[in-house]
């Protein structure tokens, strides 16, 4: 019983640790903005229309929605704890209850105040809203159903851009009610996933022979440099496979005080919940919240992820790979779409040097208030310039924050399974191709620079922003993966496919004929076998058919290039592998394709979901 209590305490600490890091990275802009605010209290950027601050899913003024913070906290908590334990052990520390409890306490110390502050601000907003209501309304406000609608006045309509580029109006109260339905369903699905996971012990091939066995050796030996894990003849499958899952399971065993391979599976439904909540949170910053939660619900109900036996219900690493790789792409997408958000373009996305802003200010104000005097224009220009500086700093930092999270998640994917290295390479190649496309065809690809520089042309600015994003991803991934790659060199090669070692031009040419079989096989798996795996590939195609022009945005292109690159990577792996092709690719393709599910759903969301309306006032200035 004390073990279970300690496990609960430890998992809470792990989540708080993730929350602290997510908050720190995603809110890099906050402290800087607040500094500038303290100098200049009048920060309103008056472009002619009242501008709403960035909103969370419930219309609050929080930068990071609750769903995103909670979901990302779960994922980063698991990833960073495993990585921290790895580095600790690499430096000579012993794994065990002491190390796990230390991470738990660090989590409480770092994340506790953040959650407490957010909860307090939420409660104070709630109490202010109740006080504003009449007594009769206050009574009904006590009901949870009424609270679902709180903060949304009936009939308030927001403007959005549909998949065809037309402006549509959607009732905010009704959208909030739909969001709440999705949230309840996702909550129920998470409970079902948890219950189903804990009803089975580890019972599949890979989960025991690759991951769980390493976890148990780590428990017994207390070190990643266990002589058995370094021994080529110790019976384990894929000794070179990464240690994120084994270390996460070891963390559970250490807190529990004993080995129970049913309870260590609790990691997997937590990752499932983290993936879905983060998807909902990030999308709700970008698109209509109702659509964001709908797509999160769709992601939660893709059969191959859950409740397929080898998905999140099992201890296999494929579903965690889907989680980490999906989140890496989600934040890359977020970094690329940062300027698509009107809240950002109005408040933060604009950028110019002080000289250029002073030149542009009268024009901005003329478009906004045509009857304003020239003196007023100058005064407002001064105010705007400072606010623009706030926005510039904030926007660039938030893009940096998204890029850092993308790099972290990409690195965690590579620290989960060897496919992650291929995915990381594909991500980098996709971003590089995007940068090239923007350079070669700036009129075709629609991107928005995070930090436009008036001294440069648009394409140069866009490229600069994308290059900085790519650099941040690569640097973060290198920092996280460095220790693992150093340790990996000492691990034995027994039963490893050793793709990179086997790769040669002659072998690829020799096995070219298998490409046709592989292409047909993958098409069959993706499109024909939808009753088994889900409709996500069809939804992606529907998105392409319905809104073909949206594909030409940078954010959508990077997803499309990534999916194509990943499929090509699988085909090349099939050509290089020493195993029998139909058994190797035939047996592993459903699990590999599972890892791309979040990207497919995200692509469909980017194609179909109504987006925030762009600022009409800013368009003529070329800042969007």
């Amino acid at each position: 019983m004390s073990g279970l209590l300690l496990l609960t305490f430890g998992l809470l600490g792990q989540w708080l640790f993730g929350v602290a890091v997510a908050h720190l990275v995603l809110s890099l802009a906050w402290w800087r903005s607040s500094l500038v605010r303290s100098v200049q209290p009048t920060e309103r950027l008056d472009y002619g229309s009242p501008v709403a601050p960035p909103t969370g899913e419930s219309g609050s003024t929080e930068v990071t929605p609750w769903a995103e913070l909670a979901g990302l906290g779960l994922v980063l908590g698991i990833g960073l704890t495993a990585w921290g334990l790895f580095v600790w052990s690499l430096c000579g520390g012993m794994l065990g209850r002491g190390a796990s409890l230390t991470f738990t306490v660090i989590g409480f110390v770092c994340g506790g105040p953040i959650i407490w502050k957010r909860l307090r601000s939420k409660w104070s907003r709630h109490s202010r809203a109740v006080q504003r209501r009449s007594p009769s309304q206050s009574r009904s406000a006590n009901s949870p159903l009424a609270s679902a609608l709180r903060g949304e006045e009936p009939g308030v309509r927001g403007s959005w851009i549909d998949s065809q580029g037309a402006v549509i109006e959607i009732d905010a109260r009704r959208d909030a009610a739909w969001c709440r339905v999705c949230q309840w369903l996702i909550g129920g699905l998470a409970v079902i996933a948890l219950a189903q996971t804990l009803l089975t012990p580890h019972h599949f091939w890979d989960e025991r022979s690759i991951f769980a066995i390493k976890g148990r050796v780590l428990v017994a030996d207390g070190s990643i440099r266990s002589p058995d894990l370094l021994d080529p003849d110790f019976v384990q499958y894929h000794p070179k496979y990464p240690l994120l899952i084994p270390l996460a399971e070891q963390h559970v065993y250490a807190l529990l005080g004993s080995v129970d391979d049913r309870l260590s599976k609790i990691v997997f439904p937590l990752l499932y919940l983290g993936l879905v909540l983060t998807m909902a949170g990030v999308l709700s910053r970008r698109v209509l919240p109702g659509a964001a939660w709908l797509f999160a619900l769709l992601l939660a109900t893709v059969p191959v992820l859950m409740p397929y036996e080898l998905g999140f219900l099992s201890g296999q690493a494929d579903a965690p790979m889907a989680c980490f790789h999906g989140l890496a792409l989600l934040y890359l997408w977020d970094a690329c779409t940062w300027h698509d958000s009107p809240t950002l373009t109005r408040n933060e996305g604009a950028s110019a040097s002080a000289k250029a802003r002073a030149r542009e200010a009268p024009r901005l104000n003329t478009s906004a208030h045509q009857n304003v005097s020239h003196d007023d224009s100058k005064r407002q220009a001064g105010s705007s310039s400072l606010t623009l500086r706030v926005g510039l700093s904030s926007a660039s930092r938030r893009v940096a924050g998204a890029s850092i999270i993308a790099g972290l998640c990409g690195a965690f994917a590579a620290f989960t399974k060897d496919e992650g290295i291929a995915f990381l390479l594909v991500d980098v190649v996709a971003m590089s191709m995007l940068i090239l496309l923007v350079r070669l065809a700036p009129k075709v690809v629609r991107t928005n620079s995070a930090v436009p520089d008036p001294g440069c042309s648009d394409s140069v600015q866009q490229n600069g922003s994308l290059i900085r994003t790519l650099a941040a991803v690569v640097i973060c991934a290198a920092i996280i993966l460095g220790p693992w790659l150093i340790h990996r060199r000492d691990l034995p090669l027994t039963t490893e496919m050793n793709y990179f070692g086997r790769a040669s031009f002659a072998l690829v040419i020799e096995r070219l004929p298998v490409l046709a079989w592989e292409a047909l096989h993958l098409a069959h798996r993706m499109l024909w076998e939808w009753p088994h795996w889900g409709l996500h590939w069809w939804l992606m195609l529907v998105g392409l058919v319905i809104a073909p022009r949206r594909v030409l945005s940078a954010s959508q292109l990077v997803l499309l290039l990534d999916v194509i690159g990943s499929l090509l990577a699988l085909m090349i792996a099939g050509m290089l592998a020493p195993a029998q092709l139909d058994e190797h690719i035939g047996g592993s393709s459903p699990r590999f394709l599972m890892q791309l599910v979040p990207v497919a759903v995200l692509f469909a969301a980017g194609q179909l979901a109504p987006r925030r309306e762009a600022s009409v006032e800013l368009n003529p200035d070329g800042l969007v």
């Binding site: 009704r174 709440r180 110790f234 019976v235 409740p307 027994t494 889900g534």
Partner: protein, 304 residues
Amino acid sequence: MFKVDRSARLTGDELRSQFWLRCLLVPLTLTTALIGGLIWFLPVDVVQDWAYQLAPPDDTRRLEAISHAEFLCWLLRVVMPLLLLAACRSWYDFANTARWWSDAVVGMLSVTRGMADGTRSSRWRTVLVRVVLAAWCGLAVVHFADSLRQRVRDWPYYRFRSGDRVLPNISDSNVDVIRYVQQATPTNSRILVVSDQKLFFLSYYLLPRRLYHKMHPDSEHVIPKENLQRRLATYRLEDLDAAFVQRIAPDYILEYFEHPDEFDRSELQDDPAWIAFQRRMHGNPSRVPNFLVRLRRATAGGQP
């Protein structure tokens, strides 16, 4: 008991949503109250007896039926009161609930219209999106029902036991060998194995005993098939050089072969402890397994 705001004048939409909500809540409340009450009133033993009588006359099937009944009984005992609570909550705040559901449905329709541009000229897009989403929901429901059925099937075997107790999803011969080695060796032994089997599950369940096995290069990337359909290339004990055995420094040496071409039938009873274990475990005093298991203590130099 219920909050009814009669002063408010209801619109046509609200009346319609209240009608549909009533249509949903009445059967839900009655069903959950009836089944929930019954399932809590009936002892689980009674339900198990009933399942036992309905099961085919086969011991395994009957044991499974008893466990299935137990699982379903407890599932209903948890789910039905929760649904009843939700239904009661909806009755208590009926007007708001109806409005909420109505808003949610309209919100969902707006979202899907916005996803596809629902103007009359392009209604096909909206229809296409909604058809895909409806198929998606249907598929999810089917898969969840299937997964629930799978959990019911698993329950008789897994219950809340850890894998070490159940030894799930491995062959009977593997189970026998694991149980035998567990009771014949100390927990921290080092065991050198020569075998024509993939030994990952043995290694997993025998921890903290450590298993070492020299993998034949020809079987490194070969996936085994059921019923020995695929023979894996393997080293015999005599193929291993002394330096290798000395490096491993095993406490025990285990020979474990299942393919009939890998051993002589006269060797099957070489290990009397194994034979005794088999006969005791299966309750058959004349049983001789059809695969070779030979566990020996190694000398200081690692030789048997």
